[in-house]
Each structure stands twice: as structure tokens, then as C-alpha cells.
């Protein structure tokens, strides 16, 4: 009996993976063949989804992107034996996209059935928690500190230091909270890990619980991820049956309600407590006074998902990867107008150019890259000329940008950067929690001022006003929503003044001969 793998990841399903799965089952039945049809997570090669894998004596051979109409042809070509077909991509593990990666967090994503505890342990799952159970809490915290792991949600705060604060704060109850409110445009690595390997997240949370002395964890999952919610809901009882979770540490799954600002840690805590997701002033930090007033280790999905590998392989192995103060690996997400979009896990230090051009293959439209936005809606727009910056916290910061959650959105030369700047202000206005004035009022004023610039209403005076407003937002906002909205706005203004009517449009180079055609 041949084993076939078809992803049940939301992205694969968004292109018809369920229909493909059904069509393969039907076709096999019609031919009297019996198949062992399994649903895995996605390998992250989203440009090949739906990617169907067939187990052969030499390994798993991939076919993608597969559409329902390809199925009869695939059977005719002998795909069940891994035979040639124009959708055949060869052995999946040998594909350049897979081979070039260093997958620690995503080691099992796409490889296993997400709800199979047996497959999870056979492939190294649980080794981190087993190691942690042999250590004292302060030893776990030290190990995570030594690994150099920093928060992958965006702020980049050292995880070990956060955990030490929770460990050192005496309390009758402590909590682990997993921030799964992955709201940044261009990001989906949290979703892919949770859908493809949920037990690894649970394992990371259980290790965090041992480290800080917490017996209960919450996952705050955004409501835009119903497929993910189904996987997590199904995975929790399996984890309990197999002793990964239980009386010593258990997890409650909570659904958000469509608020971007609830990805901010204190707004998230308010939301978990049943209130409007309004930001709390800090200090006190959540590590000291967090959920329900108790010390709380609040970390992003990928941060927690990185912890099992650190415990299993040691702090040095993790810290040996990366550059400078950006240690370890980062799941990078290539998104927007990109030819080969998907998830790539690599050590820090690769340049944006290598990611966009080599991994991503340039734009999907085939037109030149105009700009890329790193780190979601609060990240700077970097012009195509600035893509040689390496991906690490400090290098991006030195270039006036942020790493955020590692998402990269590409736009081609047709993009209107003024409209994207206006959108950034509008987004801030829609999503502002309303607690602080700069963000609540400033974002709406920002939209108005940009509109006046675009209408040609005394542009120099309006630009001065916009910069002044952005200064107020960045200096006086309570959290990153208001504080960082100036980044996409001002980076667009500074790099692309011609889109705001503030500089002449550069004349396109004259094209002639066979290259000349309408685009």
C-alpha cells in the first residue's frame, strides 16, 4: 500500500488540497488501489501547494502544484511509484528550497501528521521536555539565556531574562501565555507551526512552565485562524492522553476577536481577562504583574517553539547559529508580490536580497521590485536599492527598520507608496485601542494630513505637520501600534517622495527592440 501525504495546512487548503485529496482517493478506488492517505502540515513551499508527496523506497517524492484535473494524468504516469511527470519536483528533502534551510523550529512541520503523537516522538518530539525534567528551574532559565533566544513576536527581548524575572517573582500562581495573535501582514509562521506541529508548541510551553514554576498556560489564538483552532482543539486531548500535558501543566485555548492590538502583550492580557483589549501602562511588566495580576511568561509561538530544540540540542548548538546578538534561526516568511512565496527557516544574517531574489525568485508579476516591508504593518518600507541589509535585529534597526515577526512583503514597481503610507495611518486608526491620545487621535489626523499632501494643499507645510505628528506618535504612544506606525509612513515619504507629488516622477528608461512590450 502506497503512502501519500497531502497538507491540511490552511494555505494548502486555500488552493484546493481537500479537493485534491478527495480526487486522489476517488481515482485510487476506481482503479482498485488501496492507499494510505495522510494529511501533513505544509513544508512551507507554498508556491508548490497543493504539494502531494508519495513515499517511495528512496524517500518522499513531491508533485506540485497539483490540481484536481492533474490527478488522472498523475496516476497514468505512475506517480505512486514516484515516476516522472511535469509536476514531479523530485525528492522533497533534496529540493533546493528544503535543502538550503536549517529547520529547528519547523523540523517536523510538513513531515508528520500533526495529531500523531507516535510520529512526533519518532521524529524527536519530546526530547526537549525530557531534558528539562532533569534540570532545576534556574538551570533551564540559564540554558535559554545562554542560547541567546530573543522574542520572535517582534520586540526581540531576551527570553531567558524574561523567564528569570518570572522565576524570581514569588507568587502562589504563575502563568505561561502564548501569544498566537499573529496579526502582521506577511506573516504565517505561527500558524504553520501550530497547524503542522502543535505538540512542539505545547512542549515549549510545558518547558516554560517548569522553568518559571507555572502549572497553567493559555494560548491566545486569533480568530482569523479557524483551521488552526481546529488542529489545536484536537491536539490538546491527544497531548493529555500521552502525558505531554496533564495535572503538572495544562493549557487552555482562547480565541481572540479580530483585534490587531491584542497582539500587544498587555492588551492581550486584558483580552484574556475578559475586557476590552486596551494597552496597560508598563511597568509593572507582565513578568511581574501579568495575567490576573500574577507573574506571567508571555511569549510568541515561535519563541516557545524554539525552546524544545534548545533544550534537546543544548544552548551552544543554538547560539552557534546566527550573527552578533541575533542568535539561532528565524522562520522567514516571503509574501506579497513574490514568485516563490513561503516559509524559510534560516540562521540570522542572510540578506534581504538573497531572500527576495534567490529564494523568492523576484516578483510574481515579473516586474522589478519597488520596495519591501519587513516586520508587518508597523515595519519600514525599504527601497529595492537597500536590500543588501542582513536580516538581524541590529542591522535592520541601524537601517531604520524592524525585524518584527520575520515577514517580508514585496511590492512591484506599480505600487503606490503614498497610498500604502495612508493605509498605515488608516490601519492604526482602525486598530487603535483608544487608550492613548497620540495613537487614537494622531492616526486619524495622519490620514487627513496625507490626504492634503496628495491633494496638493500646501504640501511643504503638510509634510512638516506629518513629521511633527509622527514624532508625537513615536515618542508618546503607549505601545508599538502608535509608536511604530510612523515607520511605514515616513519611510515611504522619504524613499518615494514622487508618489506624494513632492518630487518629479523619474522617467522610465527607454525600452526598445524585442524587449519592448506592454506590461
Amino acid at each position: 500500500m502506497t503512502t501519500i501525504w497531502i497538507p491540511q495546512d490552511a494555505a494548502a487548503r486555500s488552493l484546493g488540497a481537500d479537493l485534491v485529496s478527495q480526487a486522489i482517493a476517488d481515482q485510487a478506488a476506481a482503479r482498485g488501489l488501496s492507499l494510505d492517505l495522510r494529511r501533513n502540515g505544509s513544508r512551507g513551499m507554498l508556491f508548490l501547494e497543493p504539494l502531494v508527496e508519495v513515499l517511495t523506497p528512496t524517500g518522499r517524492v513531491g508533485y506540485g502544484p497539483v490540481q484536481v484535473q492533474d490527478i488522472p494524468g498523475l496516476f497514468e504516469a505512475g506517480f505512486l511509484d514516484g515516476r516522472a511527470h511535469d509536476k514531479n519536483i523530485g525528492l522533497v528533502e533534496e529540493h533546493p528550497w528544503m535543502k538550503g534551510q536549517d529547520r529547528l523550529v519547523n523540523a517536523r512541520v510538513g513531515l508528520i501528521e500533526p495529531l500523531s503523537f507516535a510520529q512526533w516522538t519518532e521524529n524527536g518530539g519530546g526530547a526537549g521536555l525530557a531534558a528539562a525534567r532533569c534540570l532545576r528551574p534556574e538551570q533551564i532559565v540559564q540554558l535559554v539565556t545562554d542560547s541567546g533566544l530573543r522574542g520572535r513576536g517582534g520586540a526581540g527581548f531576551p527570553t531567558g531574562i524574561k523567564w528569570k524575572t518570572v522565576l524570581d517573582t514569588p507568587a502562589d500562581q504563575k502563568y505561561i501565555v502564548c501569544n498566537a495573535d499573529e496579526g502582521d501582514s506577511g506573516t504565517f509562521s505561527d500558524r504553520m507551526l501550530m497547524e503542522g506541529d502543535p505538540f512542539t508548541l505545547f512542549e515549549g510551553m510545558a518547558i516554560a512552565g517548569l522553568a518559571v514554576g507555572a502549572d497553567l498556560g493559555y494560548i491566545y489564538l486569533r480568530s482569523e485562524y479557524p483551521n488552526c483552532e481546529r488542529v489545536l482543539k484536537a491536539a490538546l486531548p491527544v497531548a493529555r492522553e500521552n502525558g505531554l500535558l496533564g495535572p503538572q501543566f495544562d493549557i487552555v485555548l482562547r480565541r481572540g476577536a479580530g483585534s490587531y492590538v491584542c497582539g500587544e502583550e498587555t492588551a492581550l492580557l486584558e483580552s484574556l481577562e475578559g475586557r476590552r483589549g486596551q494597552v496597560r501602562p508598563r511597568p509593572p511588566m507582565p513578568a511581574q504583574v501579568g495575567l490576573f495580576g500574577k507573574p506571567t511568561a508571555l511569549n510568541n509561538v515561535v519563541t516557545l517553539g524554539s525552546v524544545p530544540a534548545i533544550l534537546a540540542q543544548g544552548a551552544q548548538a543554538y547560539a552557534a547559529r546566527g550573527v552578533g546578538r541575533s542568535k539561532g534561526t528565524l522562520p522567514i516568511q516571503l509574501a506579497g508580490n513574490i514568485r516563490r512565496g513561503g516559509l524559510v527557516e534560516l540562521p540570522f544574517g542572510i540578506t534581504l536580497r538573497a531572500l527576495v531574489e534567490d529564494w523568492g525568485g523576484g516578483t510574481r508579476s515579473g516586474l522589478p521590485v519597488r520596495a519591501v516591508q519587513v516586520g508587518g504593518p508597523l515595519g519600514s518600507w525599504l527601497p529595492a536599492s537597500a536590500l543588501d541589509v542582513p536580516l538581524d535585529y541590529e542591522a535592520l534597526s541601524a537601517n531604520g527598520a524592524i525585524l518584527g515577526h520575520g515577514g517580508i512583503v514585496v511590492v512591484d514597481e506599480r505600487a503606490d507608496m503614498a497610498s500604502l503610507a495612508r493605509y498605515a495611518m488608516e490601519f492604526c486608526a482602525v486598530e487603535s485601542c483608544g487608550k492613548c491620545t497620540p495613537c487614537r487621535i494622531g492616526s486619524t489626523r495622519g490620514v487627513e494630513v496625507i490626504d492634503r499632501i496628495l491633494a496638493g494643499d500646501r504640501p511643504p507645510a503638510q509634510v512638516a505637520l506629518l513629521r511633527d505628528l509622527c514624532d508625537t506618535l513615536s515618542q508618546a504612544s503607549l505601545c508599538a501600534l502608535g509608536g511604530l506606525t510612523p515607520l511605514p509612513v515616513l519611510s515611504a515619504l522619504d524613499h518615494f517622495p514622487e508618489d506624494f507629488g513632492l518630487a518629479p516622477k523619474p522617467t522610465p528608461p527607454e525600452v526598445s527592440g524585442p524587449e519592448a512590450r506592454d506590461v
Binding site: A10, A11, R13, S14, L15, L46, F47, E182, G183, D184, S185, G186, T187, F188, R191, S223, E224, Y225, P226, N227, R254, R255, G256, A257, G258, S259, Y260, S271, L272, E273, G274, R275, R276, G277, Q278, F292, Q333, L334, A335, G336, N337, I338, G341, G342, L343, R364, S365, Q373, P377, G407, V409, V410, V411, D412, A415, L420, Y423, F427, E431, C433
Partner: protein, 153 residues
């Protein structure tokens, strides 16, 4: 589903749970499609909250609604990754086809259109979600096919 039953079931399911308001509201909306505003007192009393607190939470979150939605819900992503590949034109097309000027419910009550900011399918943009099912690389023709299928059903 009966309104009172749905509310009682939601309250029972989360009785004694810390910070239960959001789970309760989600359960009610999952069952009824919206949160009937005339029943806020019951929810507030059961959770030992004021009516204002419950109203405040419902009005804060984009997901919660106090009016029945259309029979189908279409979420259109407005975020940058989708804009990069033409989501604005796709949204104009969707609204035009449904006879809407802005997000809302079509006149025949069939479809409620909502804007969302990221569905997490950013490598396969533009993304839309129809009745909880995510769709990727959606152009006008694919969207029309999805809406045609709704009309036939």
C-alpha cells in the same frame, strides 16, 4: 437555535472560568450568528459584570456583532501582502457584484462582506475567507465562481 437556550448554554459552559466573557460571547455568536443586545443584562448578571462592561467588550472587538449577519460571510483581506497583488480591485469587484458601496450585507441578505486585516495566507495573496474557509490567489473570476456556487446552493 433558541436565543435563551444558546445564552444559557454559553454561560453554563464557562461557569466559574476566569475571564469568561470572550468565550461566552463567542459561544453565543457561534450559535446565533450575533449577540442579541436585549440579552446583555443576563450575560452581565451571570458574570457579575455591569451591562456597560459587556457592551464595551462587544463594541471593542471587530468580530462581535449585535445584528444578524447575512446567510454567508465573506471576509476580504485588506492588508499589505494582499494589496501587493491587487486586492483593492478584487474588493471593488466583490462589492459591485453584491450591490454594496461599503462592507455590509447584500440587499437579499445572502452575503455579509467584512474587511479583515490579514488571514495569514500572505504567500498566496489575495486571500478571502468564505464561511470560515480560506481561499488563496483569488482573482475576480475565482471570486465569481465562489459566489456563483453560493447562489446555486
Amino acid at each position: 437555535m433558541d436565543t435563551t437556550l444558546a445564552i444559557t448554554a454559553a454561560l453554563d459552559a464557562h461557569q466559574g472560568e476566569a475571564g469568561a466573557l470572550l468565550p461566552v460571547l463567542h459561544d453565543i455568536q457561534d450559535a446565533l450568528g450575533f449577540i442579541p443586545p436585549q440579552h446583555l443584562d443576563v450575560i452581565a448578571a451571570a458574570l457579575n459584570l455591569s451591562r456597560a462592561e459587556v457592551h464595551g467588550v462587544i463594541s471593542f472587538y471587530h468580530d462581535f456583532r449585535t445584528e444578524p449577519p447575512g446567510r454567508h460571510r465573506l471576509k476580504l483581506c485588506r492588508a499589505e501582502a494582499c494589496q501587493a497583488v491587487g486586492s483593492s480591485a478584487l474588493q471593488d469587484h466583490a462589492l459591485r457584484r453584491l450591490g454594496l458601496k461599503a462592507p455590509g450585507t447584500s440587499a437579499n441578505g445572502a452575503v455579509t462582506v467584512e474587511h479583515v486585516y490579514c488571514l495569514g495566507n500572505c504567500a498566496l495573496s489575495p486571500a478571502v475567507m468564505l464561511d470560515g474557509q480560506l481561499h488563496g490567489m483569488v482573482d475576480a473570476a475565482r471570486l465569481d465562481a465562489l459566489l456563483d456556487a453560493l447562489e446555486r446552493s
